[in-house]
Each structure stands twice: as structure tokens, then as C-alpha cells.
């Protein structure tokens, strides 16, 4: 439990600091037979990349991934996929004021308290730059899910920036509009307002917090290991691992505190065949509503899984702040004048989506919904007939 690994069967291990040589990620436990190339990963990295718009840091990282292993002739081989992303535009000079003085509210102090030393360039491993690895791993997970016999769809969008809150949007709107604007808010008018507000915060040398909402559809029933590894527990770990997240809720979430049992409880009824958003088929028992957010007893019901998390404002701001220098033992004024985001959520959208995919895929492998050794009917070029057959390929046959 060193913090650099995630997942039980679909195992992600990462390395890399903001200003080190390279970032990297090894995915172990990806089934064989998945079609995969660098562009599948690049697409996702580009969504998280710095410098993609005026409201992201101007650090010039191409975030170009190299796939070093785990592939043959365009298909995964079941062996670990080693990925490396070079750091190209680290400029440590601006961090010199902070070598022996922690930036306010950043991980500078705590990393030093833990390791007894100071990895000062760009925040070292505490930098959110490290999530580039998560997105790379999530992109592999996406290919596995997309090529499986399950129709799993998920999307996140920025639902709040400061006081500006987007109205409720449908899943279809999220799919359609989220990537259309730099803010990644699925409600275009709100996106425009958010953008304006962000520009103002940025001009003032300040930053702002907000929220991201997500929804997952098509996740089969029965996922989640009861109690400590329930779907909700692992979701909790995954979301609170994301830098700057300070709250998380799913289903009715926060509001459930004021709801009566009779109000929140959802009767069971039979699916009449009209439901689109769930994995159930006509005749299956289905709950009449979804205040439970797709999770009952910590296990998936087959209904959409949805929730929302809060991100605090970026801590690196050009405004004057104060800190202490542990060498001189004096207080000093500082300005964090590197290249920083005024708001985290737009780039956090692909990070959250990646984490959701890692959680879902891991549970699908653990439950045998996808064969851990090999994605069936997705042979590589040199297929061998001596492989045992047919894992569970259908999540919900009834």
C-alpha cells in the first residue's frame, strides 16, 4: 500500500513527478485479444493535456505516449502494457522560492513531512500532472469495455463553477455537448457563463472551485464485493484519490439526509420493456426510481450509476500569499507564478472518467463478466484453438 497502485485484477502502477524525466504507467491484467494502439490512448490524453485552451495551464506538454510492451500486431497479449510519457516542458526555476518553504495549501509540506526530504520541482509527485498516468490506464480500460459484449457508456461534465450551477442535463446531452466547450459543461449557456467567470478569476490572479457530475449506463447487475470492497466503497476510494476532491455523493447523496424512508424507498415493479437507461429486459424486476444511484447494499442494480464530486480551487495562484522558510526560519511573501490552471474541473473530467472505468472494469473481471485472460472472439493474428472457452459474455440474461 504505497499509493502507486490501483485495481485488483486490472492493475495500474504509476511513476513520475511533475518535473522528472518521464511519467509512466504499467497496466497488468489487461485481457489478451483487445485491439489497441497508441491513438486510443492519445485521444484521452489530449482531453486532459495542459495547454488545450485558454483556461488551462500553458505548460507545453505534448503528452505523447509510448507503448513499450503488451501488444502484438495491434492486439493485447495479456502481458503487462508498459507506457511512458516524456516530460518535455518542465521549468523548475520558478519553484526556487519554495525549496525550503511550502506553498500554501499544496502537498509541499505534507510530502516533506512524510519523506523527510523535498522534491520541489513542480510539486514533484504531489502534482496533478501525475493523473496523466491514470488517464492512460483508463484509456486501455475503455478499449476493453468497448470491445466487450457489454454496452457500457459513461460520461462526466462540469456541473458547477463557483456559484454558477448548471441545470440538470440528460445523459444524451452530456454525450453531445460536454466536449463542445472548453469548460466541459454539457449545458452550453451555462458553459458560457462559467467561462466568463473563470476568465475573471484568472485575471484577478485567483482560482475557483466547482463540481463534476457523472453517469454510467449499462453496468451489469451484481457488481461489487459486499462490505469493504463494495462498489460504493471502491468508488469512494477512486474519487477521493483524485487531487483536490473534497466531497462526493452518489444517488440522492447529500439530500438523503432529509428524506424519509417512505420517500426514498423505491418499490419494485416489472420492467414493461420501455426502459432504455437500464440493463434490465422486459419482465425483470426493476426499482421504480433511481434515488439509489444504481447501488443497493453496495452492489449494482443495473440502473444508471450517478454522482457528483467537489473540487477545491487550484492552490497555485499568482496572488500574494505568505509562507514560512524552514531554513531561514522566517516568514515570507510569495507568488506562485508558474503556469497553472485557474480551475481544475475541465481537465478533471477525463480523469474522473478514467477512474470510473478502472473501477467498473476491475469489478467486471472479478465477477467473471469479462474473461480475465482473454477477450473472447477478439483473437489476435496467431490465434490458438487450445484456449478454454466462453466466459460470461452476457451480463444479464435472465
Amino acid at each position: 500500500m504505497n499509493g502507486n497502485r490501483f485495481g485488483q485484477l486490472f492493475q495500474v502502477t504509476t511513476f513520475g513527478e511533475s518535473h522528472g524525466e518521464a511519467m509512466g504507467c504499467t497496466v497488468s491484467g489487461c485481457p489478451a485479444g483487445v485491439e489497441l494502439d497508441e491513438s486510443d490512448i492519445q485521444t484521452e490524453l489530449d482531453r486532459r493535456k495542459p495547454g488545450q485552451s485558454m483556461i488551462t495551464t500553458s505548460r507545453g506538454e505534448p503528452d505523447k505516449v509510448s507503448l513499450n510492451s503488451g501488444l502484438q500486431d495491434g492486439y493485447t497479449t495479456g502481458t503487462p502494457i508498459g507506457m511512458v510519457i516524456q516530460n518535455k516542458d518542465a521549468r523548475s526555476g520558478k519553484y526556487e522560492p519554495f525549496v525550503t518553504a511550502p506553498r500554501p495549501s499544496h502537498g509541499d509540506f505534507t510530502y516533506s513531512a512524510k519523506f523527510g526530504t523535498r522534491n520541489w520541482g513542480g510539486g514533484g509527485r504531489s502534482s496533478a500532472r501525475e493523473t496523466v498516468n491514470w488517464v492512460a490506464a483508463g484509456a486501455v480500460a475503455k478499449q476493453v469495455l468497448d470491445q466487450s459484449d457489454h454496452d457500457i457508456q459513461l460520461k462526466a461534465h462540469v456541473s458547477q463553477v463557483g456559484d454558477i450551477k448548471a441545470p440538470e442535463v440528460s445523459f444524451e446531452e452530456m454525450l453531445e455537448h460536454t466536449e463542445e466547450n472548453d469548460v466541459r459543461c454539457a449545458h452550453p449557456e451555462t458553459a458560457a457563463q462559467m467561462r466568463e467567470a473563470i476568465d475573471e478569476y484568472q485575471q484577478e490572479g485567483d482560482s475557483i472551485g466547482g463540481a463534476v457530475y457523472f453517469e454510467c449506463r449499462g453496468v451489469p447487475r451484481g457488481l461489487g464485493a459486499p462490505r469493504f470492497d463494495s462498489f460504493s466503497a471502491r468508488l469512494g476510494q477512486a474519487v477521493f484519490a483524485i487531487p483536490a476532491v473534497t466531497s462526493f455523493q452518489f444517488g440522492a447523496g447529500w439530500d438523503a439526509r432529509t428524506m424519509r424512508g417512505s420517500e426514498r424507498n423505491e418499490d419494485w415493479e416489472f420492467d414493461d420493456g420501455s426502459r432504455q437507461e437500464t440493463v434490465s429486459e422486459a419482465g425483470d424486476p426493476v426499482p421504480e426510481g433511481n434515488d439509489h444511484g444504481g447501488l443497493q447494499g453496495g452492489i449494482t442494480t443495473g440502473e444508471p450509476i450517478y454522482g457528483e464530486a467537489t473540487w477545491h480551487a487550484p492552490t497555485s495562484i499568482p496572488k500574494r500569499q505568505e509562507t514560512v522558510d524552514w531554513e531561514t526560519e522566517e516568514r515570507k511573501e510569495v507568488q506562485v507564478v508558474g503556469r497553472h490552471d485557474p480551475v481544475l474541473m475541465p481537465r478533471a473530467v477525463p480523469v474522473l472518467e478514467a477512474m470510473l472505468r478502472l473501477v467498473i472494469l476491475d469489478f467486471m473481471l472479478l465477477g467473471g463478466y469479462i474473461n480475465p485472460d482473454r477477450l473472447d472472439d477478439r483473437p489476435g493474428e496467431y490465434d490458438t484453438p487450445y484456449h478454454p472457452t466462453s466466459p460470461r459474455t452476457d451480463g444479464d440474461p435472465s
Copy 2:
């Protein structure tokens, strides 16, 4: 990852269903030399026990723990502590309507979807009765922490029931008042109102949700494994593992979404010696506030760790509801007429405290703050001098 284990070094493994023979819990990784007897555990179990007041289920479980191993002459031996708690008052008869029909919003359906069978008595393993094991394990953790050289204090109390919200209370008030009333709210006047409201919900055959607030003091700086196993990530897992939790926040939490960076950031200053609530000493760098909730970059700062979680209303209510029977393939009206709690939070307080202790202790062992093999200077009767010395016994010496 079957869900029945928690912790990396201080490992808890549980078994038991609501209406099975017994509940049980094995703690592996408890250091040797900790003074421990059954009463230490019983004290905590009694706080969670059913039937302790009029606002808890009337199920008559003594929850008497047997310690089967891991002890000699009143001290732990470093070997696993096997605990068993007999189920004495299971009455499965009332569950017969639900054998082939899931109770609304309970884990009945999802457990069956996962395992393909129906463990119907009392909800089987999906029952919150299972948390008796967590409290037993947490009671062991409490002894380890209390007997270590660290002064770790933590307390939770019920901060909200339905619309009734307690005003902010100090840590000292929490310590003093929480256990004085059945609701476990540290603000006596609010507690009385909450109690009245709960009685009403109960009389109406209904139930209600709410929230629990917690605070931990004395947790050393530097705990938490960056990224996926950060203190916040493991806290997220621990809290969302608790049955019925639907939201969690720490520090400024939810409100951080509307805060600017300049507002939420906390300058560093030198401790002037007046701080009581933190682990720092005069001259140490300390943040000027604690909107960060004791965690920066996912690692502890030494400031108090605090947060709040939401519990939804108990799903087992006497009010009429509807469900479907998968055998008859018909809808039917049901009433859950067993013995159930109208509100979960009062009994969830010791459960949350237990999980917090498990998280804190595990990180302290992982970081070497407490020797994983043996609590020093706490010898058993037949002490041997051939043990290696002196682990880290002081969290923060500067």
C-alpha cells in the same frame, strides 16, 4: 477483493449474516504487548448494540464477544485475534414474504443478482448487523492507539436528523455530551428535538436520514500513501463501505466548490505555542486555518481531521410498499414488520469511529509510527530481551 477484509497491516477479516449462527472477526497484524481483554471490546459493542434505547431496534442481542486467540496473560501476542459473537435473537419467520421478493431499496435484490441465490433471513450478509464485527476490530485498534506513545483522540456525533441540524460544537463538547443522550448528538437541546422527531417518524411507521460529523486529533503529520492510497482515498473507501452512506466530505468539503483559491488557501505561519488542537510544537510551520481538514495532497498535516457523512433513512419500514415476486411473477404489497431502527445514525457513530481508527492505525503501522511487531515498553509477562529495539515512538519531534 471479496469485500470481507479491510486494512493492509492491521488486517480485519469478517464473517457472519444477520440470522446465521454467529458473527466473527479476525484481527491479524495487531502488535504484541497490547493490554487487552474482552471488556475493552464489549464497551464498544454495547454502544452499537440493538435494543440500547427506544429509538433502536428491539432485537435482543447481547452481542457478547468471545476472544479465541491472540492473547496471553492479558496481553496480545502478535498473532491473530479471533473473535466470535453468537447470534441469539434471530427470528426469520417475518422474512418469509421476502424469500422470492426483494424488499424495496434494501440489498436483497443485488445480493441475489450477484450470487444467484437468496439468503433471505434478516437480509443475510447485507444486514447492517455485520458492522458489529467492525466495531469489535475497531475496539482492538483503539487499545493499540491508546497504549501507543501517540495521543490520538477521535469522536463522532449525530449532526443532523432530517431537517434538524445541530449547531457547530467544539471537540470538547463532542467528548462531553455525545454519549449523554440516545441520539448521540453533542448539542443537548438539538438532541432533544431530534429525539422528538425520530419518535414521530417511528410512530408513522416511517424512518429518516441524517448526518454524522467526526473529528480526529493528534494524528501525526505525514500519514497517507500518496495517490491511490492517500489518507483521503482510504477514508473515502472506509466511509462509503458503511451501509447507507450516500455522501462524504472532509474539510471545507462541499462548500469548497464556491470558494476562491485566495479564500480557501491557508498561509503558513510558525506555531507560537498556543495551539492545542494540532500535533505541532512551538516554532513548527502550521497552516493558519483548517479548511483543508487536516489533509493536504492526501497526507496528514497534523491539524485535526474532520468531516461529515450522510446516512439515508433505514429502508425497512412498516409502511406499506410494493414489490415483485419472481416466483409468482406478480406484484404484491408488503410491510417490513421486523424489529428495525427508525434512524441509523445513533448506532452508526461507533461504527464510523471504528472505521476511522482502522484507517489511522493502519497508516501508523505502514509508516513505522507504531512498531508492527510489538508495542514497545508494553511487555507481556514473559518478555524476551532479544527483540530489536525502538521503533518510531514519537510522531513529530522536530
Copy 3:
């Protein structure tokens, strides 16, 4: 990694010391739908039980197992199976000379060096009595394997006692003869000689070492996670975890050191349909021999897996020995006059078989050969139709 857990998906957690209240074992990750009752476990425990013959310790332990959870109506529910075995005949008095003086070559000294204390009664947790838990867990694994669609058979027998070595026996002879005699040697004449020799060692107040040979048939091709968790690596861990094992080999094993590549290599040929001992079918590629012991590249070939391990002589012997007392700081003569086995292998046979089953089953679950959630077509009484279908049920379809 506290030593009290084994298995990744089929997870065994144990507790208990030789002279404690009880031994116990929790099996987490047993699929639902397996028919199981206490007699299935008792049968295996009886094979390991003390006092079963004149060449085992006379300690009078009934080793009666209680199943506390994980079952309904005779079928497993997918939730953890908690088992407890009371200790009934602990007599600690005879251990008093050793309270501050380690028995020669036992775990007394090292356990004290590790934990800094002395759990002296009967050797505490270092006692081989603890393997009663392993056999209980292995008995559950046996039921899962036996009720799966795979025909996995395995057997161990005592192949050597001191200088007396059994001639090679067939798998069928092992199945037929092993349990016929107290020594558990499948070659009746050799068994008789071994028995005579053991009696002599015992009369002399001494003990003797030996070896156990095993063979597993029907294990599907493709089991084992390459590199650190290869089938051979996990076998190595499992076998060397058994108390008193000092060497292990599989396939040609030790002798492979003097074999040329051209001698040990086995050409591939097509199965002509005459092979009984392998999982292959007519037309499949099969190696022409089995010096590889069923494992190539650390993964199963489908050929029988076989090997042999050495047990050293029991260290507890009535003969005079010397030790030191760390309290008096003096040397002293001692005799270990408790009730002890003159030879370990006869009772180690079921222990080894249990460990083999744990390894095999875990890999079968990990590879999707058996559905981790539920053994298909083995429904409990209250089956639900909403379970996802059909895991891999056939190891080798070609």
C-alpha cells in the same frame, strides 16, 4: 502480509494457538451454490487429527468444526464461511520448563525474537496444530472443485521415512492404498517397514524425517500467472509454508541438474486419444513425456502436476537436549515430554493436499474457469433468475 492469509480470490484467514481457546478459519470468496455441510469438512479434519493412530500424538482433540456462516439450506451463499474448532485437550503444564527457555530447533526462540514476548503453551501459534485450519479450508475447496465441471483429482502419500523409500507407485495405487495404513504410504509392503521403523524411533525417544509425494490430475491448461505468481511460484510458497518442510521439487526436480536439454526436452506430438492422465483430447498437441511435471513457463500444460517435499524430523523429542534460560542466564537440560508425533508425514498428507487444492482453486477462479460469484447449475433453494450466465465451465474445449 501478516502470514495469516492465503489466496487471492479464494481467501483463507486463520487464527488460533495450540493451547488457546479455539482454532478458526474464515473462507472468503467461496462461490455460492456449493453443497456443503460440516461432515465434508470433518472427513478431512479426521485425517489430520491427533490420536488417530499409535504413531501420532495422543493429544485428545476431537477437532469438531462449527460452521458459523456462509450457508443456507445446505448450500454456500457466496458470503464468508466462518469455522471454529475448539481446543479441548491443551495441557500447558508440561511446557513450564520452556517459559523462558526455547526448545531446541522449534519456533520458540524466533517467535519471541519477533514479537518480544513468549506465548509458551504448546508452542503457541508456531505449533503445527495450526494446520487444522488449512485442512478445514482445503475441505471447502475440495467441495468446490468436486462440484465444478472439472474432474480434478489429487493425492499425496508418504514416499520416504528416514532411509526407507517407497518404490514408484501409480496414481491409481495412491488413490487405492494410501489411506489403508497409518503411515499413509501407498505401497503396502513399504508402509509396513516404515511403520516398524517409526515404532523404533519412538521407543528410543527420538523422531525421524521423510518425504511426501503428490500428483494432481485434470488441472486445466493455462493456469498460473506468469512470473512472480506462476503456478510454480505459488506452489513454492504453499509448500514451504507447511511447518517442517525443507525441500521441494516438481517434475524431474532435483535430477534436472544432471540432464541435458536434449534429454529433458519433450517433443510435441498429437494426442492419439489413448491418454488418460491428461486433460487433452484426441488431436490436441501434447508433450511426449512429463519430466516437466505439468508446468512449462510456470503455467500448467494439462499434464499431471507432481512433486515431492521433505519434512524434517519433529523437533519435540523426549531425548535429553540442552537449552538456555534467558531469565536465569544458565544452560539447562530438558526433555520435551508432551504428547508429540514421532514423524510428521502421515498427518502432513492431508495438509499438503489441502494446500494444493487452495492453489489450484485460486488459479481456476482467477482464470475464470470457475465463476467467482456462483457455481453454475448448482442453485440453492431460492434461486433467482437474475444472475448473469455461464462462466467458463469447460477447461479445455478445443
Copy 4:
């Protein structure tokens, strides 16, 4: 449990195939404050490198390591160390005959049976080339151990090649002579004979098996987690994970089967101060001999840990062999004419040493003998004084 990870606290994750782009290894859990540069790793890689002598494959791999993270100013930072080693001289052409036909006794067939596809170039991930990653990780472990306050020394040498067996050598001879000759046998005369024999096997287009002996000194008392994670169990896993190992023994090992208890047992005596090879000090209890190989009850005694493993002959030989083609469904003659080693042990010596270090260091971190966060008194340049103090730095104080 995908096979690509080793270690609980000192965690190694590897990727890479014989003919892929690159090999790589991430070490997570290395304490901060360890002086480390690429040359420390290169030194070990060079000992394992192909082409280092006439009795190793002529594949021209420089095995040049790049350190991508985890370091600042020459010291480790506590964050993961990402290492990449480019593959420079893969020539897949010679493997074309084997695309649909497994090489005899190699992992070709089993990897395909597992993953359902064929990663044919150079044996893919089943190639022993993958152990380059293990040696890289072991080199990091070596620096941690060497810079700790413990004086841990270990050495392996080739003790047998075919029928040629080296006489017993002292630890000092192993240290002095092993690296003097290409065979890595510490007995120079025997080394010469072995060399001659290997040349002959090679000229005949054949290969040969053998054995490697090892010894570890200075390992503190009390290491090893009783039962499933005992020192012996983890040693068993580590050694049997090494490609081509078919037997392993420690202490009296194989021979223990013919020893009586009274013969193998070792009385306890007081160290008279003359012992050099153990961690004990004058007055400590010590066993009078070391047939137990430094391990009692699976935990270290402080005496030297020693053992021996068997390697089978390399399976890739130029001699004619037969295999089957699963596409044509015909048998065919083959010759493995790539560049291969006639004997594995000389290059396996650094691999075994690496695995031993990984096991020892992991247990030292788990037991608190070395602080998991930071190697004390080994500060980096920007040391912070806010780190908790002084882990156990002395293994055996008495």
C-alpha cells in the same frame, strides 16, 4: 495476482517481452534518502547481461537502464522509481517456424493456452530476458540494504553443472572467487572443469542443467510473518518464480529426510563472543549448529540463511527436435537456431541474488527494521526537520 508484481512494501512491477520495444520496472516503496544513480543498477545488469562471455547468448543487448523518476539530487525521494531498458537486438525472424508451433518444453504452448494468442517473438514475456527487470529492482534493494544500519551480505555461486559438483566453499571464498570466472563458481578448479563441460555441450548443440548455492549473512532475527508468509514461504515463492528452477532446499534440506530429530535438533547455548557469521552478540542464546539454515518456525534466527536450487537445462537447443503445427495440423522437425545460453546458472546468479534481496528488504520494512518512508540520517539536499524520528535502526540490541 497477475504475476507482474512482487513484494508487499517494497513493490516491484515489471513489463516487457523479449522482442518488444523495451523492458521496464517500477519500484514503489523505496524509502527516501537512499543515494542512488544509474551506475548502481548498471553494475548488476552487467552481471546478468547477454553476451558477457562465450557461454552466454550472443544477443547484443547493452541493457542500459534509464531512471525516469523517484530521484532528486542523487537521492531517492520516496516516490516510485520508474526504470526502462530498451530492447536493441531483437531478431524475430528466426522464430517464424514457431509462430503456430510451440518449441519443445518452452513456455510457448502454455502462454498460448492461457491467453489464447501467440506472442511468438523470442518467447515474448515467457523469455528469461524478463529477469533483467528483477535484477534492476534488486539493485535498488541492494542500495537500501547497504546504506541501512544493518550489515547484510549475500552471495550466490554455481555449485553444480551437470555431473560436476563443486566442493563446499566458505562464504569468504564465494565473495572472493565467484565473479572471477565466467561460470560464476567460487571454486576455481571446479569452475574450469565446468567451463570445459559447458563448451562441449554447446558444441554438441545441446545444453545442461545445474545448481546454484546461496548464503545470506547479517539478516536480523525475527523476520518473517508466521504461517503463509513465513520467510521460508516467501523464499519458496521467490525461488520458484525464477525461470527453469525445478527444486529448492534450505538448511539441511533434502537430507533432512534421513535425519533423526536428535541428530538435526540443535541445542541452545550462549554466544561466547567468537561467532562471526551470526547477528548475535556475546551472551545471546544461539543454536549450536545451523542445519536449520537460519530459519526456525519460518522466522529468521540470525544465523546465516543458506540454500540451493536446481535449474534445468535451457530448452532452446540447436539439436533437432520435433513439434506440431496447429495450423497445418502436422508434425515437423525444428531447430532452435537463435542465440541461446548453453547453461542458465551463470546468469541466474545475479537473478537469485536480486530475489533474495527483495525478500529480505521487504521483511525488514514490514518489521520496521528499516523505516518505510525514509532511511534515517541519509538526508537529501533539502532536508526538512518535520519528519518523525528514528525507526528501528538496530536489528538486535539485546
